[in-house]
């Protein structure tokens, strides 16, 4: 119950008034008293909201008894409800973004239910729940059902969903901050709108960690119009076919009222976290993402702590850090690894060991950003810069689930620019400045999936469904035209060539209501529900070494000591086809059979790929070739970026930085320039036979990559002969055959590059194809699963590219291409951010024409050719040599 309950009675617990205290039924009061606790103010506030029938968003730091605050009203209501003759339906629906969290909360909820002897059945239902339990839940619903957004989408597609949820009194969305700004959030908002139809008196409750702008979450969670009377509406059968021709009167969504049906409840703030940045004794590297230089210090810090969570940004960094820590681990500290590609079984083992208190450290990715409570974590270490203050607050919250003791966190910057970024993040956290998100506009591919689900459940009328969809926060501004387009897409594919009118997936019946064509259409939809589209996943299995090692020589059996320690963490090394995890299919496209790589803390040799299985054998003595040595997968947040820019031009801030970083900044000022406030520094210089253009917008890798693509097109037209480019979170570097000193930079960076240049490039880009595939899967244009057969990701990859090419040529305005363009522009290209950047630097480009590389440019120069992995001895030597040359040149 650690997650749910306050364990200590500290000064941060606001005194509770007598009347509030007595608002708890005696049984609950007694239960609190038996444990020496008293209810927290926000727990009672949530109770009060429930009694008023109000929805609520509770924002409280982890450890504040947030989950109990969410459930308390339902527990009391269920205890006090009069006995009834007919079996009751689901009273409270709890939705968590993680399957594991739903199961964990179920376990935690059972404790007070048992201890107070409450007559309440609480059960979880996730993709992993057994069929018999699922079937029983359908016949005999539990009072409290704990599940995921995907399961809710499935519920909505059930025939009989309306009756099943007729008694629903409350929906609790946990970790709301993690769900709302995503397609899963869109789908969930649509699901909530549906549930509100089934149960008009249903309250919505959100639980969230600290967010920058609670109103955005409230708007997402709330509904836009008073829920229509559900009684007897039976699919809203009032509307007829005739009414479809006249769109409903354009009732503008009540701007002022949006989200106002969700009250905000704030938990008492916890103690300020203690955040430090590791200075690393004058050894901050010029470039890189691994923080390898600091591993010995990190190891010592782990040794001095009780239990540490070591967060990294990518799976590759996780594997790398885990490997290095074990090389240093002379004390045999139990250090484990946790990331999303490990098999569920391995992850569960690590989680269980952690819950037992058996581990001293876990190296992990965002898989542990939220959720399950893990006992006595007393330190959170962030290896490499966190890229956003909000994410970091969440991660810090993983330490010390007791409100009155400060959480401890340590940043370990992996490079000099990251040193600036980590400082900025640490300050931002202390000042409680978090990254802002834009309001969410619901996506149309997700809407298509939802509409199909509704048609599988019961017949719908166009106008009634339109109003229902618009009551969902993200869809408040949905136009009737777009809605019609999506319905037509669901029905016929939405093609100008009306070939499919006779094969409609949803058809209009005699009453003018739309319904799924037949049982097959329903079954296919239910098999393909969900808005998390992961890349095609390849299973990694042991065995299948049919192809000989490219390295030749006898296989090594002996001397496994070096890598045996990591292996012993996952001691089960069975033989023959055992699955050790999975990876995106793209991962193996970069490997040739015979190559070695690190996975789950061990070195493996890649043997062959058969269907969706990659076969590997242990290769304990080999140096791994680790491809895709990328940096962060998270873009640097806008807020942190501006803070880094600020810190750089304000020399007073430099004193907080380690000596070598200060010296680096000072040399930059001498050799080139430190950009002033609002300026963007752009340097041009020759090196070898090439000419370089390096600029420093600090807008994150995504926006930089898009900018570099577009600039390269322009430079090509200017006949400069661009040869290549490389980007990181801070800068971009383009090199060319001919000098770029004399270019009209304001024209080069003119905002109109986001017009035709962008369109032309986008249509051919790999990113559009990937976005198209995701949208097409979500919208049901292509299906991952047919009854009886699973279509593997590899086949889908191939055919969606063909589909994309043909559709682009023959119907470029098709709904799916619109969706793909939108996703590519926001998620993959960061067009909005690039647009902001271009307008910000307009007329403010500070150009320095140099005769050699500047100190700032060294890191981005070192990114060239970094794709090859460390561990490859020859490659490392070349890189090290290149690095020394460069540094000498910049500092001489």
């Amino acid at each position: 119950m650690r997650r749910i309950l306050n364990e200590t009675e500290g000064e941060h617990v606001i005194a509770v008034s007598m009347s509030a205290e007595t608002s708890l039924p005696p049984r609950f009061q007694q239960w609190f008293a038996d444990r020496g606790w008293s209810p927290r103010a926000h727990q009672l506030a949530m109770l009060e909201k429930a009694r008023q029938g109000r929805g609520a968003l509770l924002i409280a730091p982890t450890g504040g008894g947030k989950t109990l605050a969410g459930f308390l009203p339902s527990l009391i209501d269920l205890t006090e409800r009069p006995p009834r003759n007919t079996p009751a339906g689901v009273h409270t629906l709890y939705i968590s973004p993680l399957k594991a969290l739903a199961v964990d909360v179920e376990r935690n909820l059972l404790t007070p239910i048992r201890e107070m002897g409450l007559p309440i059945v609480a059960e979880s239902r996730t993709g992993d729940t057994g069929e018999s339990r699922k079937a029983r839940q359908r016949v005999r619903p539990p009072d409290i059902l704990l599940t995921t957004p995907e399961q809710l989408a499935l519920f909505c597609a059930w025939e009989g969903a309306r009756e099943y949820f007729a008694d629903l009194s409350c929906v609790i969305i946990d970790e709301a901050h993690a769900i709302w700004p995503s397609k899963r959030g869109d789908l969930l908002a649509l699901g909530l709108a549906r549930l509100q139809q089934f149960a008009p008196r249903m309250r919505r409750v959100g639980l969230s960690a600290t967010v920058d702008d609670p109103d955005l979450v409230r708007r997402w969670l709330g509904w836009n119009s008073p829920p229509p009377c559900g009684e007897g509406a039976g699919g809203g059968g009032v509307s007829t076919a005739a009414s479809e021709k006249t769109p409903p009167s354009p009732t503008p969504s009540p701007q002022g009222g949006r989200g106002s049906n969700i009250d905000l409840v704030l938990g008492s703030g916890g103690a300020q976290p203690v955040v430090e940045v590791l200075i690393s004794g004058g050894q901050v590297p010029w470039a890189g993402h691994t923080a390898e230089h600091a591993m010995a210090e990190v190891y010592e810090i782990i040794k001095a702590s009780k239990t540490a969570l070591v967060f990294v940004n990518t799976r590759f960094q996780a594997e790398f850090a885990f490997q290095r820590l074990w090389e240093l681990n002379e004390d045999d500290l139990p250090i484990a690894l946790h990331h999303g590609s490990l098999s569920a079984e391995q992850r569960r083992k690590v989680e269980a060991a952690m819950a037992r208190g058996a581990l001293r450290a876990v190296v992990c990715t965002s898989t542990l950003d939220m959720g399950i409570d893990w006992g006595d974590v007393d330190l959170v270490i962030q290896l490499a810069a966190p890229k956003g203050a909000s994410r970091m607050v969440q991660r810090i919250g993983r330490a010390n689930h007791r409100l009155d003791e400060p959480s401890r966190a340590l940043f370990v910057p992996a490079s000099r620019f990251e040193m600036l970024e980590c400082r900025a993040a640490a300050d931002a956290i202390l000042e409680n400045h978090l990254d802002g998100d834009p309001p969410r506009i619901g996506t149309l591919d997700t809407l298509a999936q939802h509409i199909m689900g509704c048609a599988c459940s019961e017949p719908f009328a166009m106008t009634a469904l339109y109003e229902e969809v618009r009551s969902a926060g993200p869809y408040a501004e949905l136009t009737w035209e777009d809605f019609e387009t999506v319905v037509d897409f669901v029905s016929t594919g939405g093609y100008a060539l009306r070939t499919y009118d006779k094969f409609r997936r949803i058809v209009k019946n005699a009453d003018g209501l739309w319904t799924a064509r037949n049982a097959q259409a329903r079954q296919q939809h239910r098999m393909n529900v969900g808005a998390i589209i992961s890349p095609g996943m390849i299973n990694i299995r042991i065995g299948g070494g049919r192809r000989p090692s490219r390295l030749g020589g006898a296989p090594t059996h002996s001397g496994a000591q070096s890598a045996a320690k990591p292996a012993s963490t996952f001691a089960d090394r069975a033989r023959g086809g055992r699955k050790i995890g999975e990876a995106e299919e793209g991962y193996f496209e970069q490997l040739t059979p015979g190559d070695t790589f690190v996975f789950a803390g061990q070195v493996w040799r890649y043997n062959s790929l058969v269907g969706a299985d990659a076969f590997v054998t242990p290769a304990p003595n080999d140096d791994p070739k680790m491809p895709s040595w990328g940096g962060s997968k998270f873009p640097l947040s806008t807020y942190l970026a501006s803070r880094v820019r600020q810190m750089m031009h304000d020399e007073a801030e430099w004193t907080a930085l380690p000596g070598d970083v200060q010296e680096w900044l000072a040399w930059q000022k001498i050799r080139s320039a430190i950009p002033g406030e609002g300026e963007m520094l752009l340097e041009t210089f020759p090196r070898g036979k090439r000419h370089h253009l390096v600029c420093y917008p600090f807008d994150g890798r995504l926006a930089h990559t898009t900018l570099a693509m577009l600039l390269t097109r322009r430079l090509d037209r200017l006949d400069v002969g661009p040869l290549g480019f490389v980007c990181n979170d801070y800068a971009l570097n383009i090199w060319s055959l001919r000098p770029m000193d004399g270019l009209d930079l304001d024209a080069l960076f003119a905002q109109d590059m986001l017009g035709d240049d962008l369109e032309a490039w986008l249509d051919e880009s790999f990113m559009m194809k990937r976005a198209f595939k995701h949208c097409a899967l979500i919208a049901g244009l292509i299906e991952r699963r047919h009854p009886g057969a699973e279509k593997s990701g590899r086949q889908v990859t191939f055919s969606t590219d063909l589909i994309y090419d043909v559709l682009r040529k023959h119907q470029p305005d098709h709904l799916m291409l619109r969706c793909a363009r939108h996703d590519a522009a926001t998620g993959m290209l960061d067009i909005a951010r690039l647009g902001d950047m271009l307008s910000r630097v307009k007329g403010k480009i500070r150009h320095m024409a140099l005769d050699r590389v500047s100190p700032f440019a060294v890191p981005i120069m070192l990114e060239i050719g970094r794709e090859r992995a460390p561990g490859d001895a020859a490659g490392e030597a070349i890189l090290a040599e290149a690095e020394e040359d460069l540094i000498a040149e910049a500092m001489s």
Partner: protein
């Protein structure tokens, strides 16, 4: 060893059982002396077959896209004979699902030239209403043209059916392309249809057919690239 030489048109000229033939970057085979254009595995109406069978609404534009490609070759070469080498329709009902203007374009292909439909496993009966001769196989210039390659040594066989594709890696980059594949004795054509996938020619379906070393003619945007065994990679 297969003899081959690049042609200025971007094609690849090869000697197939001592008969000179031209591999086009469109994926078509050009037999100049007979002024005959051969294309395999068009799979017309594959898109609509998914709608009919599964209710899955793939873009219904694959037939016109395939016809567009065919028209470009016809405009360039003015063939007197056009041979469809089987699996011209994705299924037996495909002909009935043709959009009206696609149907008219297909009819038009028979104007002023001989149109020949070799049958395949997807379209065992050939078209019912469209013009043209329906055959099992054809003999031409000493070559045998049929849909499905036959086992054993088949000197001068030209077939389709397998949808060959070649995967080639150099350094970090990998490309996978539809391709012709030959050992100088027999030839398998790439699938010509817009919605047709490819089978890697390192699959045993190919090694069982070819006795000698294989030469792949991988299709690029403007030319056919000759690729030897050493450069090929499995999927």
């Amino acid at each position: 060893m297969t003899r081959f030489s690049p042609s200025p048109c971007g094609g690849l000229r090869i000697a197939l059982s001592n008969v000179e033939v031209m591999l086009r970057w469109s994926g078509a085979l050009w037999l100049e002396t007979e002024r005959t254009l051969v294309v395999a595995d068009l799979h017309f109406e594959k898109g609509s077959s998914y709608a009919a069978r599964f209710g899955q609404m793939l873009p219904p534009y694959d037939t016109r896209e395939t016809l567009d490609r065919l028209d470009r070759e016809i405009a360039l070469l003015s063939p007197e004979r056009l041979i469809f080498l089987g699996d011209s329709f994705h299924d037996g009902a495909g002909e009935a699902r043709l959009a009206a203007d696609d149907y008219r374009r297909l009819e038009g292909l028979a104007l002023g030239r001989e149109l020949v439909w070799a049958v395949g496993n997807h379209d065992a009966d050939g078209p019912k209403a469209l013009p043209g001769d329906v055959i099992d196989e054809a003999a031409l210039m000493g070559l045998t043209l049929r849909h499905e390659p036959q086992p054993g040594v088949q000197l001068g066989e030209v077939a389709g059916h397998l949808h060959p594709a070649a995967k080639v890696s150099s350094g970090r980059a990998t490309v996978r392309r539809r391709c012709f594949v030959t050992d100088g004795q027999r030839l398998v054509l790439p699938a010509f249809g817009a919605f047709t996938g490819g089978l890697n020619i390192l699959d045993e379906a190919f090694s069982n057919l070819f006795g000698g070393p294989m030469l792949a003619g991988a299709l690029g945007p403007k030319r056919v690239h000759a690729v030897g065994m050493k450069s090929l990679r499995p999927d």
